[in-house]
C-alpha cells in the first residue's frame, strides 16, 4: 500500500494541484480568482501529461550515442499546444473580465447577479 502511494507520488501531487484549482474555481466569487483557479487546473493537466511521458531512467529525448533510453517526447509536445490554448483562454478570460468591470463596475459574481436581476425588473 505504502509502495503504491509512494510509487505514484507525482500523480497524488497532481491530483492535489488539480483539486486546488477546481476548488478555487468553484468557491470564489471574484472573477479574477476564478480564472486563476482555471489556470491552476489546466496546469495540473499539463503536469499529468509530462508525468506520463517520463520513462524511469530515461534521459531527455535528444538522440545521442551515449544513451539508449529516452523519455517519451510526445506528451511534452502535446502540452506545448495545450499551454498555448491555456494562455489564449486566460487572456480571453482577462479581456472579458476587464470589459465586465467596465460594464458593471464590479467583478464580484454575486454583485453582477444582483445587477442583472435589477435589469430584469
Amino acid at each position: 500500500m505504502i509502495e503504491y502511494i509512494l510509487g505514484h507520488i507525482n500523480y497524488w501531487f497532481i491530483i492535489a494541484v488539480m483539486m486546488v484549482g477546481l476548488y478555487t474555481l468553484i468557491s470564489r466569487a471574484n472573477l479574477i480568482k476564478k480564472l486563476a483557479g482555471l489556470a491552476i487546473f489546466q496546469t495540473a493537466v499539463i503536469l499529468f501529461y509530462v508525468s506520463l511521458g517520463k520513462v524511469t531512467g530515461g534521459t531527455v529525448p535528444i538522440v545521442d550515442e551515449a544513451y539508449t533510453l529516452y523519455s517519451n517526447p510526445l506528451p511534452q509536445v502535446l502540452m506545448l499546444t495545450a499551454i498555448v490554448v491555456g494562455v489564449a483562454t486566460t487572456a480571453l478570460g482577462f479581456a472579458l473580465v476587464i470589459r465586465i468591470k467596465e460594464a458593471y463596475n464590479t467583478i464580484e459574481e454575486d454583485a453582477i447577479f444582483t445587477l442583472d436581476q435589477k435589469d430584469h425588473e
Binding site: L38, L52, G93, V97, I112
Partner: protein, 501 residues
C-alpha cells in the same frame, strides 16, 4: 485528387482568417467570409457524394503515416457533419451582410469575421480529423473564437454569458484532455482508428474506464447534455444574431458528433453497455426533453426560449443514440441536420425581429406578426417543424425516433417524446400568440434607427437567408432522400463496426 480537397476545407479558412483580421471594412471582410463559407459548402458536397456509398477518403497530414502522423479519415458521418456546418455557415454569412453592421461595433468588423471563420475552421476540423488530440485542438479553436463572438453581443449580459461559457467550456475541454491522457497512457496512441483496432489488448485496464468517464463528462459539457446545459441559454440568448444562428446550429451538434465517434468508433458498444450507459443516457435524454421544453415555455424572451428549446432537442438526439438500433441512430443523425436547419431558421427569425424592432421580449412584440407577415410565416413554419408536424423536417426525425423506441418496447421513452412535443406546441404557440394575437393592443416601439414610422425596413439579405432556411425545413420534410440516405448509411456503418469486432 479528391484527397487534397478534404484538407482544403481546413486550409481555406486558415489562410483567409488572418487576412480578414487585418481589414476594417465591412464589405471586404464579408466578401472574404463569403468566399470561405461557400467554398467549404461546395467542397463538403463533393466529399459527401464521394463517400456516401460507405467508402473512405484518407488524408495523411505532412505525409506521415498513422499512428505517427495525423490522419484525416473521412467517412459519410464526417462528410455529413462538415456539410451541416458549412451549409449553416453559408446561411449565417448571407444573414450577416445586413445584420452585422447593425449589431457589431464598426471597429471590429474584420476581427468579428475572422473569429467567425476561425470558429468555422475549428468545427470543420473536428468533423474531419481522425486524431483525438488534434480534435481537442480544433475543439479549443472553435470554442475560443465562440467565446469572443458571444461577448460581442449588444447587452452587457453577453459578457457574463461569454465568461461563464468560457469557464464551463474550458473545464469541459480540460476534462476531455485528461480523458485523452488516460487513454494515451493505456494505448500509446492518439489515432482513433488505431486505438479502436487494438482496444481488446488493453480493455481491462482501469485507465481506460477512467479516461472514458472524463471524456464523456467533457463532451457532455461541450454538447450541453441535460444536467450540464447551464451555459447554453445565456450564451445563445445574448450573443449577436449571426453568432446565435451559427453556434446554435453547429457547435453543440459537432460536440454530439464527437460523442457519437467516441461511443461507437473509439470504444466498443459492448464496453459501455456494461457500464449501463445506454440507460443513463436514455434517462438524461428524456428528462432533458421535458425539462428543456418546459423551461422554454416559461421564458419571456424569444432568443432564450429558443435556446432552452435547443436543450430539449439535444435530448432527442441523445435518446436516439442510446436506443442503439438502426432507427434510433438514423433519427439522431438526421436530427443533427434537421435541428440545425430549424434552429438556424428560428434564430434568423429572431434576428430579423431584433433588427426591425430592437427587442425580442415576447411581451413587447405583440401584434408585430401582422406588420411583418413573411418573417412571421417563416417563423411559424420553422416552429411547426420544431413540433414535428407532418410535412416538415421535424416530423421525419420524430417518426424514426418513435419507431426506434417502439421497436425496443421502451414506452416511457415514447411518452417522453410525445410529452416533449406537446410542450413544444405550447411554447411555439406562445410565440405565435405574442406576435399575432392581441394586435389591438398599443405597440410600444423602442427607437429604431433608419426605419419608417414604427419598423425598420425589411432587410433583403436577412429575409433571403430566413426563407432559404424555412424552405429547407419544408423541402427536406417532403424530400428526405439526401439526409435520410446519409443518415442510413452512417447508422449502418456505426452499428456494423460493432458486429465486426
Amino acid at each position: 485528387m479528391n484527397e487534397q480537397l478534404t484538407i482544403l476545407l481546413v486550409v481555406v479558412p486558415l489562410m483567409i482568417a488572418p487576412i480578414t483580421a487585418l481589414f476594417k471594412s465591412h464589405t471586404i471582410s464579408w466578401i472574404l467570409t463569403a468566399i470561405v463559407s461557400f467554398t467549404s459548402l461546395i467542397l463538403s458536397f463533393i466529399i459527401l457524394f464521394d463517400v456516401i456509398d460507405g467508402s473512405h477518403v484518407i488524408y495523411e497530414l505532412g505525409g506521415w503515416r498513422p499512428p505517427w502522423g495525423i490522419e484525416y479519415k473521412i467517412d459519410s458521418l464526417n462528410a455529413f457533419i462538415a456539410l451541416i456546418v458549412s451549409a449553416i455557415a453559408c446561411l449565417s454569412t448571407i444573414f450577416a451582410w445586413q445584420s452585422v453592421p447593425k449589431e457589431i461595433n464598426e471597429n471590429n468588423y474584420g476581427l468579428f469575421y475572422a473569429a467567425l471563420q476561425l470558429c468555422l475552421l475549428g468545427l470543420l476540423g473536428i468533423a474531419l480529423t481522425g486524431d483525438i488530440f488534434n480534435l481537442f485542438v480544433f475543439l479549443e479553436i472553435s470554442s475560443l473564437s465562440s467565446y469572443a463572438l458571444i461577448s460581442m453581443g449588444r447587452s452587457r449580459k453577453a459578457l457574463t454569458a461569454a465568461f461563464s461559457y468560457l469557464i464551463l467550456g474550458t473545464i469541459g475541454a480540460t476534462f476531455f484532455l485528461i480523458g485523452v491522457g488516460f487513454l494515451y497512457a493505456a494505448s500509446g496512441s492518439l489515432n482513433i482508428a488505431d486505438i479502436a483496432t487494438r482496444f481488446s489488448t488493453f480493455a481491462d485496464m482501469q485507465l481506460v474506464m477512467t479516461g472514458f468517464i472524463f471524456i464523456l463528462l467533457g463532451l457532455g459539457l461541450k454538447a450541453a447534455i441535460f444536467p450540464m446545459h447551464s451555459w447554453l441559454p445565456n450564451a445563445y440568448g445574448h450573443a449577436p444574431s449571426v453568432v446565435s444562428i451559427f453556434l446554435s446550429a453547429t457547435a453543440t451538434k459537432v460536440s454530439i458528433y464527437v460523442l457519437i465517434r467516441v461511443l461507437f468508433d473509439l470504444y466498443p458498444v459492448a464496453y459501455w453497455q456494461a457500464l449501463l450507459l445506454p440507460q443513463i443516457l436514455l434517462v438524461l435524454g428524456c428528462v432533458g426533453v421535458i425539462y428543456g421544453s418546459f423551461r422554454a415555455w416559461q421564458q419571456v424572451e424569444l432568443k432564450r426560449l429558443l435556446a432552452f428549446s435547443s436543450v430539449a432537442q439535444i435530448g432527442y438526439i441523445i435518446i436516439g443514440i442510446s436506443l442503439l438500433n438502426n432507427d434510433g441512430i438514423t433519427a439522431s443523425v438526421m436530427h443533427l441536420f434537421n435541428h440545425a436547419l430549424i434552429k438556424a431558421t428560428l434564430f434568423m427569425g429572431a434576428g430579423i425581429i431584433l433588427y426591425r424592432t430592437n427587442t425580442t421580449k415576447l411581451s413587447e412584440l405583440r401584434g408585430f406578426g401582422g406588420s411583418m407577415p413573411w418573417t412571421f410565416a417563416a417563423i411559424v413554419l420553422a416552429g411547426l417543424s420544431l413540433i414535428g408536424v407532418p410535412g416538415t423536417v421535424g416530423f421525419v426525425t420524430k417518426w424514426y425516433l418513435l419507431s426506434g423506441a417502439i421497436a425496443q418496447g421502451k414506452w416511457i421513452v415514447v411518452v417522453a417524446i410525445l410529452a416533449g412535443s406537446v410542450l413544444a406546441i405550447a411554447y411555439v404557440w406562445k410565440i405565435v400568440e405574442a406576435m399575432y394575437f392581441n394586435s389591438k393592443r398599443k405597440m410600444v416601439i423602442q427607437n429604431v434607427k433608419s426605419g419608417d414610422i414604427n419598423l425598420a425596413k425589411a432587410p433583403i439579405s436577412l429575409s433571403l437567408a430566413l426563407w432559404i432556411g424555412a424552405a429547407g425545413c419544408l423541402y427536406f420534410g417532403l424530400y428526405t432522400e439526401l439526409p435520410y440516405q446519409s443518415a442510413q448509411s452512417i447508422a449502418t456503418a456505426l452499428l456494423s463496426s460493432e458486429v465486426a469486432q
